[in-house]
Structure formats: C-alpha cells, structure tokens
C-alpha cells in the first residue's frame, strides 16, 4: 500500500488534478483545472452542456489525454512518464493500466458487451485481468450482482434488460474489480425518467459505504442529497465549488445562479414555484 499524500486536514488524497488543461485543436476545453478528491468523498460535477465536465471526468481517467498540468491517482502520475530532460511521454499501456487499477468508470451509454451474458460481462475482467478461475469469477460476479439487485438476471443478455438494469450491471462490472475510486459520466442521462431512481439508489448505497466517487450529473437532487461537494464548471473552468447546501442555496457567481434558475424553471411543474435561488432542491 503506497503512502498517499495528505491534505492539510490529514485526509488522504485519492485523485488530484493540478493545473490541468485540455485542448481539442485550437479550442481549449479545460483551462487550468485544479481539483483534489479525498478518500470517501463524493464530488458531483455540474454545469451546462459544453462546459467541459465530461471531458474533465474522462481526463481524470486518461480516456482523454490532458495537455498541460498533472493528474495523480493515489499519488501516482496518470498517463505520462517523466522522460529525460524534464519532458514527459505518454505512458506505456501496461503502466497506464497499473495507475488506473483502482479506478472504475461507469458511462452514460452503459457500454456493456452485448455478446456476453450479464454474468460474463462482470466475469470478463476478473478472468482476464485478475486471473481468477471461471468458478471463482462467477461466484464474485454473482455476489456483486446481488449488491445491485440483479443476481436473478445473471444469465440474461444485456439487451433484454431495461436501461436502468443495464446501468446497474455496468456498475456491478466495475465494482467487481474492487475499485477505490468510481467515476460516473452522466450515468442516468440515457435513462427513461422512471428508471433513474434505481440507478441513483445503487450509487447512494455506494456513497454510504464510503466509496470515493466523482459524478458528472444533471440530477441536482442527487447532488444535493449525496454529494459532499459540488463543483460547478462553465467554459472549461471551475467557477464555484462547495457543499451542496451552500452552493445551491447561496450561489456566489451569477453564472451558477442563472444555471440553477434555468434548471428549476425546466423542472418545475407549476408556475407558482419559488424561482429564486433554488431553495426547493
């Protein structure tokens, strides 16, 4: 077990971005992002579409190669190796896998493998990566599926399941690898509204169990209830961050206030809802 860097308060830093930037061609998508996530912390990334929140999350997993700055996963530099003369080069695949080994990711589109049964989806990385026997992998897969309430679907095919069930399988597939950090990229955005709850419920349980989580979401209710910290991005920059109660009730930046106002207007059923600073979240 490596010794993790500590924050001033003595918390372990699980994931950290320092001055990270990301460009697509001429367009700067992320500008000088610094973000530090502690063990067991649940951080929600919110912001308008195009604000860079998904790119930020994907950069934290090195699914996008960030250009400047650094990302550290449990104290290890992610994605780059220091080369001679201070230059850095993209890590070899084996090194990248090593630094990412304790990181799990859940995607908006679930990304289950449709040619494998639910159980096989969960078992695959256990067998190939962790070198477990089929029997052991299956046992672990069933235990993990039990956690997301889908053990009875173990031998079903992914495309026979509802979106919510598929996403829970995707969560189980990540969880089976016993990650220390879970990244969620808009996990409920592709779901029918009535299926959102079951996925959020599973994520809530994970948070209660102390999982370190970074969640890109449009579910402000989830962010308000579960997040320890909400980070608001706009134009590729962190505009504001803080505890959800503080952030949602008293946004200090006009952009966040406007974002919350738009959100409330979109999501209010009746016109007589108080429109101001989001007290009804």
């Amino acid at each position: 077990m490596s010794v993790l860097p500590l924050t001033k308060n003595g918390h372990e830093v699980m994931l950290e971005a320092r001055g990270m930037s990301k460009r697509f061609g001429e367009h700067t998508v992320l500008r000088d992002i610094s973000l530090s996530i502690q063990r067991s912390e649940v951080v929600c990334l919110i912001g308008p579409s195009g604000s860079g929140k998904s790119t930020l999350l994907r950069s934290l997993a090195f699914l996008e190669a960030y250009d400047d700055g650094e990302v550290f996963v449990e104290g290890e530099l992610l994605g780059y190796d220091r080369a001679q003369g201070g230059r850095r080069v993209i890590s070899r695949p084996a090194r990248l896998r090593e630094v990412r080994r304790n990181m799990g990711m859940v995607f908006q589109q679930f990304n289950l493998w449709p040619h494998m049964s639910v159980a096989e989806n969960v078992m695959e990385a256990l067998i190939r990566g962790r070198r477990l026997s089929r029997a052991k992998a299956r046992k672990l897969a069933l235990e993990t599926l039990e956690k997301v309430g889908l053990v009875d679907k173990a031998d079903a095919w992914p495309n026979r399941l509802s979106g919510g069930q598929q996403q829970r399988v995707a969560i189980a597939r990540s969880l089976a690898m016993s990650p220390a950090i879970m990244l969620f990229d808009e996990p409920t955005s592709a779901l029918d509204p009535e299926l959102v709850g079951e996925v959020l419920q599973v994520m809530k349980h994970l948070a209660e169990e102390g999982m370190t989580m970074v969640v890109v979401t449009h579910e402000m209710g989830f962010a308000a209830q579960v997040a320890d910290r909400v980070v608001f991005l706009d134009g590729g920059q962190i505009v504001e961050q803080g505890a959800p109660a503080k952030l949602f009730r008293e946004p200090s930046s006009p952009r966040l206030a406007q974002f919350l106002k738009n959100y409330l207007e979109r999501n209010s059923l009746f016109d007589d809802r108080p429109a101001a600073n989001g007290t009804c979240l």
Partner: protein
C-alpha cells in the same frame, strides 16, 4: 457433343477439382490471416506503418491478379525468390486476398462502439484482449456476409493459377480440351465445377450467417448450465 471425354479423364478431372478446392481453401486461409494482421496493425500502429500498409493495399487493389502472379512466379527469381507453381499460387492468392479481407476487417473493427472499448480499458483489459474478446466476436457476425462474398470471388480467381501450371481444374480441363478437341464439353464441365464450388461456399456461408445471427439475437448459445459449485452461496 460428346461428354464421354469427361468420363475418360475422370481421374485427372477429379484431382484437378480437389486441387482447386485445396488452393482455394489455402489461399483464403492465408488471405484471412494476413488481412486480420493488416487490419489490427492499421488500428494500432503509428502514421508511418499505417501509411506503408495503405500503399500496399492500394497497389494490390489497383493491379490485376494475373500480373501480380506473373511477377511473383516469373519475376521472383530475379529477387532471389524461387517458388514452385503451387507455392507461388498460394502466396499470390494470399497477398491478393489479404487487402480485401483487411478492408472488411477494418470496417468490422470500426463498427464496434468506442464506448465498449473504453469500458474494457477501464477494467484493465489489454489491447489484445479487447481485440480478441470484445471486438472480433461481435464484428465477425456483422462482416460475415462480406467475408463469404469475397471468399467466393477469390475462389473464382483460382483459374488464374493454371497459367503458372498449377494442375487445378482449369489447367486439367483446358488440357483435356486441347488434347481431344472437345473444347465446348470441357468448358461446360469447367462451369459446372466452379458452380458447385461457389454453391458449396454460399451454402456454408448461409449456414454460418444463420448461426451467427442466432448468436447475435441470443437464441443458440443459451448460457452454460451451472455447475453446483459455481452458484453463489
């Protein structure tokens, strides 16, 4: 017309037929293997290697098979490469077919959603495992019709091998025709022979496609029955 010529030379014709079948299977096997390798390298290699492969594909596609074969068989010795007619024929078919199969495989690879690959990467699978376990099983189902189609086309290129004296069906039957002046009978027999081969191939292809589409819609491969110790406690 007198088809007795055919029965008189039945032995030769039979062995010619088998030779055609064998060069076809051998050529397709070589072409498939080389095509897959080319496609995988194209996926992962840097720009220089990709460019070189692109050139190779363009050159092979833009030149006739006959010319390639001549170059390999008659031109080979000038490059220190002396091949028997059979070896030249097989390698020629393999090279010629590889680029078409490579293009088919490449389309197959790009048809698998990037997200599935990212999910596999985040779970720590190696690129080789991703190719073998995630991409190939899914894409085979999709590209099977194209593969079968080109396999049939490659089968119909095997007569070209007769020109470098590989004793396959065309070589044998045109020989018999020249010897006995029964040109029409032997050419008709030739048509029947290739028709049988193409028909065999397309039947096999249809059967495979049916299996594959059942596999995709998940009817055939019902999940394995559980052994007792595998069931979670």
């Amino acid at each position: 017309m007198d088809f007795s010529v055919l029965t008189e030379h039945a032995g030769e014709i039979g062995s010619g037929f088998l030779m055609t079948l064998w060069t076809w299977i051998g050529g397709v096997a070589l072409a498939l293997a080389a095509g897959l390798v080319i496609a995988v390298i194209q996926l992962s290699a840097g720009p220089w290697i990709r460019g070189a492969l692109r050139c190779y594909i363009e050159v092979i596609r833009a030149t006739p098979f006959l010319v390639q074969l001549f170059l390999l068989y008659y031109g080979g010795p000038s490059f220190g490469l002396s091949l028997s007619p059979m070896a030249a024929g097989l390698i020629g078919l393999g090279l010629y077919g590889s680029v078409y199969f490579a293009e088919i495989f490449r389309t197959g690879f790009t048809s698998i959603p990037q997200g599935q690959i990212e999910a596999a990467q985040m779970l720590g699978l190696t690129s080789r495992q991703i190719v073998c376990r995630v991409q190939i099983p899914q894409m085979l189902v999709l590209i099977l019709p194209a593969l079968v189609n080109f396999t049939t086309i490659l089968g119909k290129e095997t007569p070209v091998l007769s020109i470098i004296t590989v004793p396959e069906l065309t070589f044998v039957l045109t020989g018999v025709g020249a010897e006995t002046f029964a040109y029409v009978e032997t050419l008709l027999a030739l048509c029947v022979g290739y028709f049988i081969l193409a028909e065999l191939c397309s039947r096999l292809g249809q059967w495979l496609e049916r299996r594959a589409s059942l596999y995709l819609t998940q009817g055939v491969r019902t999940p394995r029955t559980l052994k007792p110790q595998e069931t979670a406690a």
